[in-house]
Symmetry: C2
Subunit: 203 residues, 2 copies
């Protein structure tokens, strides 16, 4: 094994991989970070967005709470500390995904400003796009697809965001999607229009 | 938001994303898991392999100890328990990467059969390709690019694989690369020849 090769390969390639892959895939990788209450429609929009992006020739990865908590983060609970660690790992994971030139679509309640700041800081301001998927809590509670609000009201789930623990709406998100006013297609159309200038390959 | 869409989208898309992306990228995603002593050349080979694969039109992501331990897994140390958790997360992460149709090239000491079995079991037998990057410990120790063997010999690093804690060679790896006998290019050529039938897009 040649020492020169060993020394030279690592720093050069690490730096070049992302932009080289972006050029091949004809896209700029970004983390599209969707926050909002349970039932606001984050995962649904994330999956439909990925579907539409694929149709336009883009490669993205969808991450959401259910997926992560059944795998990578299954050692974590829902205490404030574990939620912070959950989203720290998600942010680090997303950073890896964009380092390969892939778009990361993240659907996580991410209830506090602090938790979203942490994510933005890990990922880097330039690569972090904050999307507020917003529906009033009574609408989310009516949907209650997973029966979580009912459990939270009965006290079976403690610290459930919006019931036992607060959701701090983003002060200045990149874009807000009101899913009580728009259906899935309208939501994704609006989001896509906003996102495309960020991911379209320019050079 | 239409209930039907909400119900229908998730299971269908999750299952289809990988094969759909594989068809677009013209590759089959696999986890190429390289184990071996520190200094055996795992990361060097991983990066050069990625480089060669890219030249052939494939998209892969390189993961190694330094990268993961400075980010996703920076909360972990080097106790047996933390090493197991480190590689559990790496395996879960790789599983996510291949679920997007991307090849994952993993360079980790992964010292025990048990730790490698855990990874194989998380990732799935079919998608896990074990590569033993092998050089005798005296060769690795002579290279000692990071000065780790010296620190281990002086007792500054405890439980260093090969010195204070054991390395269990894989009994039946997919392929073994002897980096004391082959240089970087020869190693990667040999590995590539073995790997291509696993990742070439067939249908």
């Amino acid at each position: 094994m040649q020492e020169k090769e060993l020394q030279d390969l690592q720093p050069i390639d690490r730096l070049n991989i992302r932009s080289r892959n972006e050029a091949k895939l004809r896209q700029h990788a970004r983390v599209i970070w969707m926050c909002g209450l349970s039932g606001a429609g984050k995962s649904t929009i994330a999956l439909e967005l990925e579907h539409q992006l694929f149709g336009l020739g883009y490669i993205a990865q969808v991450l959401d709470g259910d997926l992560l908590r059944s795998g990578l983060n299954k050692d974590l609970g829902f205490s404030a500390e574990d939620r912070t660690e959950n989203l720290r790992r998600v942010a680090e994971l997303s950073k890896l995904i964009i380092s390969a030139g892939i778009i990361s679509i993240n659907a996580f309640i991410s209830p506090t400003s602090r938790i979203r700041s942490q994510a933005r800081s890990i990922i880097g301001h330039q690569d972090f796009i904050e999307v507020y998927v917003n529906a009033p809590i009574n609408v989310c509670e009516q949907r209650d697809q997973k029966g979580l609000y009912e459990k939270a009201r009965m006290g079976v789930i403690k610290d459930f965001t919006g019931i036992g623990s607060p959701f701090e709406p983003p002060v200045k998100p990149g874009i807000e999607i009101r899913t009580d006013k728009l259906d899935v297609q309208e939501s994704v159309d609006k989001l896509l229009k906003y996102l495309l200038p960020h991911i379209e390959f320019k050079h």
